[in-house]
Each structure stands twice: as C-alpha cells, then as structure tokens.
C-alpha cells in the first residue's frame, strides 16, 4: 500500500481582494513576486526542499494561471510516479455540491485525496506567504512533543499583535489559549497559518465539523481540537516571513529584495526557490541605460533608467524612461521618455511613450481607500496606457484605456479606470 509519512495541502483558492486589480484575473498565489517568481513558488519550493514530495494544491478563484504555472510540477521536481503535485479544484458530487466555503471545508472535501496516501501527518499551508522554512524540522518538533497539532508561530511587535491570531503558550510551548485579533493580546506569538496535524486527529475533526458553515482552521478546527483537549504546540519561527496580502506589504516585500544584503536572500546556494521559467535569454542593458539598486530578470531589454525597482522577465524599458521604486511584472513594455514612480505594473501591460505615472498629491482613493493607499499607482495586467498621459497616486487602472479616459490627459490622484471587457 502507498505510504507517505507527511503530505502537504496548499490552500491556493483565495482571491486576495486586498491586492485590488492585481488579482482581478488571477488568484493571489499566482501573482508575480521578486521578478521571476510567483507567490506560490515559495511554499512549493519549501515543500520539495523539506523532502515533501506529495502536495495537493486547492484552487478555486481564477485558477487558469495557477494551473498552467503548476502543470505537472516539473519546475519543483514534483513530477513523481507516486505523489507529486495534484491540483484540486472543487468538484460536483452526487448530492450536496458546493464550492470550497472555508479553509477547513476545502480540506474536508478532499479527504479521499489524502486517504489514498495513507499519511501519518498532514501539513496545511497557505499559498500567499513569502518565507523559507524547513517543514521537516517542524515535523521533528511535532514528533518530539508527541503533539496532535503543531502551529507555526512567530513573534510580532506587541503593538501589532491585535492584527493577528495570537497563541498563548506555557514554558513547554504547549498552547493554552487562543486570541483571534485581540484588543488586549496576552502574547506576541502570531499564528502563521502553517499547521501539522496527526492525520487521525485532522480527519476526525473535519468529519465532526462537516456541517459547520465556512469551516475554517483558525476559527473552528483549532478551537475544536483545543476544547477536546488535544496536545497543541507552537513551533516558534524567527526568520523572514511576510504576508503579502496588501498592496503595501506586497510592494515592501519586493523592495526588501534590492537591499545590498537582503534579509530574504534569493542568492543563497542551498534552499533554492524554483519557478517555471518561460524566458531563458540573458537581459540586454543598452548604452543609454542606467541601473542602480534593482533586480532584473531574464530576457529584459533596458534602454532607460531603473532605480530601486524589481523588474520581471521580458520587460522592455524604453530610452529616456526613468523607473523608480516600482515593481514591473513579466512582459510589460514601457515606451520612451516615461516617468514611473512608486507603481505596481502587472504583467503584459503596454505603456506608450511620454507618460508620467505616480505623480501628484497623495489623495485618498475614491475606489477603495483601504486597498489603494500608500501613494501607489497600480495597473492591472494586460492594460494599455496611451501616450502623453499623467497618472496620479493611489490610482487603479485595469483594461485598455484610451486618451478619452484621461480628461486633459490626466488621471488625478485617487481616481481609477476599471474597464470590463473580455480580453
């Protein structure tokens, strides 16, 4: 019989609505990160680097990009005869068909997938965090505590603790209390949404809670296990971990990669991060180019100036253009004589010549001030920006825009253009 000691279940179905136009057409785990990567590459690479060769990826929201990125798992060596990577979308059943209504519900609907590997342990991961972690060390810790559940947790500044799910531990790191986004946190250990379960414990909990609506790990499964008296431990993690759930944290995490010696170092020999590489050729840096403090991916052609920026594969930066403090994703073409400041420009965008992006006053967004803030200009994938326009701060653009969309050639700060349209 097939036997895998530990398998991983990777939750990748969320929209990530706080990333605004970046996730209009793609699931958050499939959003580009750090030039050539996508966010899901980090947990997938952690899996294979930790010796986990069986991974179920749960997809739901806009899965096309994710599906074609994962394929049969070749980039992560997850193309296996037994195990490997399996994409698990919601499916129709003879009765009671439903979407994945919560993190634990999604896992519950795939009990049969897990059962066929006859695992001892199941690792639950989310597809939207940037970090390097050896799950094998966490498993050793789980075993040595004879734990039923182990939750990875990291210390956060106490004043920020009220934004997280907080765990309170005793001297042996056994968890004796939980607080979900508490006003008065009793500890600064925040749950990272990474769990190791004994398979028997997980299975029992999911079946018991199967009628719980929107069944969620943090809200339902962990409290259920806790009340039942299961042994729950916190595994303290002290290295780089970043939730890139908001445009600002996403932008910051990218910018941290360009420091001289980044805290999160992609250049280390061991613990490589793997991704599907569509583009192989080297990048061309022209006579007219100037580059400082940036990372630039394969196949780019840089004729202009790039400072403090992260540039994805196959991007063209035209002559006379200056890009600062920005993220430009795969396949985007920026024409000549543009100024791009503190912007996030998604994949395959075309910006015609002589545009200014990210200029003007810092006016709150009229579309959604909680999403489009921090002075960022955000342009969704496959957008088109005509020549000679000015685009302000806290703006959002998605779709093929034309000069008529810009009164007097300007999209003022806080404004937005969201065009529907099929392609």
């Amino acid at each position: 019989m097939i036997k895998k000691e530990m398998i991983a279940m990777l939750l990748a179905g969320g929209q990530g609505s706080r990333l605004g136009v970046l996730t209009q057409k793609v699931a958050k785990p499939a959003v580009s990160f750090g030039g050539k990567y996508r966010i899901i590459d980090f947990p997938l690479s952690n899996c294979i680097n930790s010796g986990i060769d069986t991974v179920g990826v749960l997809t739901q929201y806009q899965p096309l990009r994710l599906n074609s990125h994962i394929g049969i798992g070749i980039p992560w060596d997850l193309d296996r005869n037994i195990g490997g990577v399996t994409v698990l979308p919601p499916y129709e059943k003879s009765g009671n068909s439903e979407w994945y209504s919560g993190t634990a519900n999604a896992i519950y609907q795939n009990l049969e997938f897990m059962e066929q590997y006859n695992p001892e342990y199941v690792l639950i991961l989310s597809g939207d965090h940037i970090y390097k972690m050896d799950y094998e060390v966490m498993l050793d810790y789980h075993k040595s505590n004879n734990a039923d559940v182990t939750i990875a947790a990291m210390p956060v500044p106490i004043e920020e603790a009220s934004r997280f799910g907080i765990v309170v531990t005793d001297e042996n790191n056994q968890i004796n209390d939980f607080q979900e986004k508490p006003e008065h946190p009793k500890s600064n250990l925040a749950s990272m949404g990474i769990y190791i379960f004994k398979w028997s414990v997980l299975k029992e909990a999911l079946i018991t809670l199967k009628n719980q609506s929107n069944c969620d790990f943090g809200k339902h499964v962990i409290p259920y296990c806790f009340e039942k008296g299961d042994r729950i431990f916190a595994y303290e993690y002290n290295s780089y971990w970043k939730d890139v759930g908001t445009l600002n944290s996403y932008w910051e995490a990218n910018m941290e990669l360009i420091d001289i010696i980044p805290i999160f170092n992609l250049y280390e020999e061991y613990w490589r991060i793997y991704t599907k590489s569509d583009t192989l050729p080297p990048q061309y840096i022209a006579d007219t180019a100037k580059i400082d403090k940036s990372i630039i991916s394969e196949g780019c052609e840089i004729y202009g100036e790039v400072y403090d920026s992260v540039i994805g594969a196959g991007v063209t930066v035209g002559k006379g253009t200056v890009v600062r403090n920005s993220i430009v994703m795969k396949g985007t073409v920026i024409g000549e004589d543009c100024r791009v400041n503190k912007s996030i420009i998604a994949e395959n965008v075309t910006i015609e010549k002589n545009c200014e992006i990210g200029v003007g006053e810092d006016v709150p967004s009229k579309l959604d001030p909680r999403i489009y803030a921090f002075g960022l200009a955000t342009i969704g994938e496959n957008s088109y920006i005509p020549s000679n326009v000015k685009i302000g701060k806290n703006t959002a653009i998605s779709g093929k825009t034309e000069n008529a969309d810009y009164p007097d050639g300007v999209l003022a700060s806080g404004e937005y253009i969201i065009k529907a349209g099929d392609m």
């Binding site: 750090g34 050539k36 250049y267 991060i273």
Partner: protein, 374 residues
C-alpha cells in the same frame, strides 16, 4: 517528422586553446544562458524530430551533465527520446571513435533499429536556427542521396577552417574541399547533412570495411561524383565556434539587436537546461553599457560591451570591457578586465588587471599573469 537525428559532439579542437581543457566544444557556453549544443537540439525538437542521438567522446563531462535530463528539449518521451552514446568496449570493438564516420558505425544499431526513412546529421558546435523539414523537402525534391546545408560566407571571412564547396546550377555539389589552403569559393559546409537512413547504413558499413573513418573525406568527398550530393543554401544566421576568435565573435554577435531579436524573440525558441537562478541584481555603483547579463549575476562595478554568463559576481570599482565572463566567476574589487574570456568557476583576485593586447586573452584563476599592485 520522418527523420531521426544524430548530433556529432565528440570532437576536440585545439584552436579553442585553454577553453577546450574543461569541456567539449559542443558544451561551450553561448550568449549568456545557452550551450552550443542547445542550438542543434532545439532545432531538432522544433522540427519535430522525435529521436536524437548525441555522440560524445572528448571531455564529455560538462556535456553529459548538461544532457542529464532530456526534458528541457522536450525529448522526455516514450516514443523516441534523447540518447547519449559514448564509445564503449564491446566483444568486437575496443576503439575510441576514430572519426565521425566511425562514431556512427560504432552506433550503427541505433540506425538499424529505427524505422524513420531519413537521418539528419548535425554538428554540435553550430549557432543557428533552421527548420530541418525545409531541408528535407529540398532533399526529396532534388532526389538527392545526400544534402549538405551550405552557407555563403562574407568576403572577409577566412574560409580555410571550413569545408568549401561549389555547386552547379541545379544545386549539385561539384567541388568539395576540406580546409582548403586556397579557394575561390565562399560557400562553406555547415556540417548539417540529410541522408536516407538505408543509404547511410550502406555507406558507413562500406567505410568501416575499408578502414576509413571520416564522414567528410571518406564519404562526401570520396563519393562526390558517384552519389547525388546536393547543397542547400541557408541564408539566415549561422556561425560555428571552432576557434577562440570565432567563439568570441559569435558571442559578441548577440549584442547586435537584429541577432538578439532573431534568436531570443522570434519563434521558435532555443531551449536550454534550466538553472533556477534568481534575477540579476544591481547594487549601488553598478554601471552597465551595451551588455548581456544573465540570471544569478550580482553587479557592483562597470560592465561595457561584455557578456556575463550565469552567476558572475562583479566587485566594487571593477571595470569589465569587451569581455566574456563565463559561468560562476567571482571577480574581486578594483579589477580591470579588457578583451578577455574569463574561464568558468574562476576567482579573479581583487586589484588585478587582465588585458588582452594582441587578440583575446583567456583568463583562468590559476593564471596570475598580469597581476599588478598589491
């Protein structure tokens, strides 16, 4: 595709000087991210050839490493696939490959056990894109026994390192000389041939019987008047890397926009082994002009008119000009490198100077000539 492929990648080349100490010519790094054999292999896969044998012999370690998985060129198939044949001692043979024809003869079972009617033979050291289907169409149309892909070289090329040919109006080759001392012809053989499989088996077996071992001299030139040998003129980019100068120039060609565009942007692509290196990183003080930079590089200094292969580290205040830095080289601070090829996996000490004055200088980390200061 009704053909199988054979890539001849066994040769050594003394004209590559120190660069050939480490690897076979077919494994020479090209254009930042590729190796020479990637071009022949990608052309095979893009022409839908499903079964390819690579014949290796000289210094094959790098090449075998590069070919350790066939998936990069889409040859990981149940039907066909990629076969790497090194010489082996058998009950009735104890020789190395004594020549190109001999290398095919020693693997004649590969030909006999295939069923495709044609064979494409290509050298492993050419940099080009071609659709072999077009050559095959021509071969069939001319009812040729052998078709040789040829290229007209520009006036200023020294053709004495090539096989030169002359064709009649119909395209039939009437003159063929290998590495001529003097010749009027500017048309050279690219080392790419198409031949019917049964015909090839027959010729190779005949050759072996007569103890002849070289494909060009003992088949093409010897049978020139008996067999219908045709030339197919190729008019797109073709270069081969048989000397240090041609290797340097071929790489530098990729700094030209039209050539870069032809190979990197136009369909179909050239494939290579994927290394999973991070994007290139430019720190304060980086100053790059007209250069190709590959993934995994970290740059703190000046780089002009140069090609940096994967994982080059350029220290502070370095000046790299008109040079090729091969894979995985660490260059210490304040180093000056001009007109050089820096061999792979090297560490170039800080504060050193390497300048190629009469032609291209090959720099290896055990080569301390030219070190000044400190």
């Amino acid at each position: 595709m009704r053909a199988i492929g054979i890539i001849l990648a066994g040769g050594n080349n003394k004209k590559m000087k120190e660069l050939s100490y480490k690897r076979a010519v077919a494994a020479m790094p090209i254009a930042g991210s590729y190796r020479a054999i990637d071009f022949a292999l990608s052309n095979m896969t893009n022409s839908h050839v499903q079964k390819v044998a690579v014949l290796t012999q000289y210094n094959a370690k790098s090449l075998n490493e590069h070919l350790s998985s066939s998936k990069w060129w889409d040859f990981g198939r149940k039907q066909g696939g990629l076969f790497v044949f090194t010489p082996s001692i058998t009950a009735d043979n104890g020789y190395w490959y004594r020549g190109t024809a001999d290398s095919i003869w020693q693997n004649i079972s590969f030909l006999k056990q295939s069923h495709e009617p044609y064979v494409i033979i290509a050298a492993g050291d050419g940099v080009y894109k071609i659709d072999y289907n077009k050559v095959l169409e021509y071969h069939i149309e001319k009812k040729a026994d052998i078709t040789v892909v040829c290229k007209d070289m520009p006036e200023d090329t020294d053709v004495s390192r090539f096989g030169t040919v002359k064709m009649n109006e119909d395209g039939r080759i009437v003159y063929f000389e290998e590495k001529p001392v003097s010749t009027e012809s500017r048309t050279v053989s690219t080392g790419i041939y198409i031949i019917r499989r049964r015909q090839l088996i027959e010729l190779i077996e005949k050759c072996a019987e007569e103890e002849r071992y070289d494909f060009v001299n003992d088949i093409l030139i010897r049978y020139k008047n008996i067999k219908r040998i045709y030339g197919y003129k190729m008019d797109s980019y073709w270069s081969n890397i048989s000397t240090v100068e041609s290797y340097y120039n071929t790489n530098m060609d990729f700094l030209k926009p039209d050539i870069r565009n032809y190979f990197f942007k136009q369909y179909p692509d050239i494939y290579s082994k994927v290394d999973d290196l991070p994007p290139a990183k430019y720190n304060l003080g980086a100053n790059i002009k007209n250069s190709l930079i590959s993934s995994g590089c970290i740059i703190n200094g000046t780089v002009e008119n140069s090609i940096l292969f994967k994982k080059a580290y350029i220290g502070n205040n370095c000046v790299i000009k008109n040079s090729i830095i091969l894979n995985n080289v660490y260059i210490g601070d304040n180093t000056v490198i001009e007109n050089c090829i820096v061999e792979s996996r090297g560490t170039i000490r800080a504060n050193s100077t390497h300048i190629g004055e009469n032609g291209i200088k090959i720099v290896t980390d055990y080569n301390d000539n030219g070190r000044v200061g400190m």
